[in-house]
Assembly symmetry: C2
């Protein structure tokens, strides 16, 4: 089990990932931006993700988005000192849904310029 | 433009596809089953999809799911006689989000047996 984090969010083991739930977690522009940021930058301080991925929201809203991503199995969080760090569970996701995260991270999420 | 269908659903051109919206359309077990069925069987009569993909719902609920998939750009519908036929917009999806549909169609959507 993962989940020795200091909050009440349960991060599922890879065997319990559900595709529809992973897709629902990714189906939001801000959550997509979060995932794409940590996919590119590796494990990141949560405050840094909010700032550098330019997510215009309160800390509590960002925490809510992180919770959805963690409960689906997309991200994991680690506490060190007073700070929370998050990273993509790339190996687990690749094992359960081969190719999915690569296609999502490399896709152009917005309509093409015409 | 697509969309010479005999209803009020607007099917967007591929250039207007939005990743978050496509993921949201796929983020439901019944819609996933629908997409996986037509990915495997090609263009199908809508009644056949409901029956053979074992979707336990009313026709109107199925129509609602089809609408969400069509408005996101995942499926297209064609009317012939009194029947509606639907198929996956695989080429358009592959062009905008390479690898995404292949990973979703081939993935094991449910938790692995332990």
């Amino acid at each position: 089990m993962l989940g020795s984090v200091m909050d009440d969010v349960v991060e599922p083991p890879a065997e319990d990932f559900q595709l529809a739930r992973v897709l629902a977690a990714l189906a939001d522009p801000h959550r997509l931006a979060t995932v794409r940021f940590v996919a590119e930058h590796g494990e990141s301080w949560c405050g840094q993700v909010m700032e550098e991925a330019a997510l215009p929201m309160s800390k509590s809203t960002f925490s809510h988005h992180l919770r959805i991503l963690r409960e689906a199995g997309v991200l994991t969080k680690r506490i060190q000192g007073a700070r929370g760090y998050t990273r993509l569970r790339k190996d687990d996701l690749d094992r359960r849904f081969p190719g999915l995260m690569d296609s999502i991270v490399t896709a152009d999420p917005e309509p093409a310029v015409r």
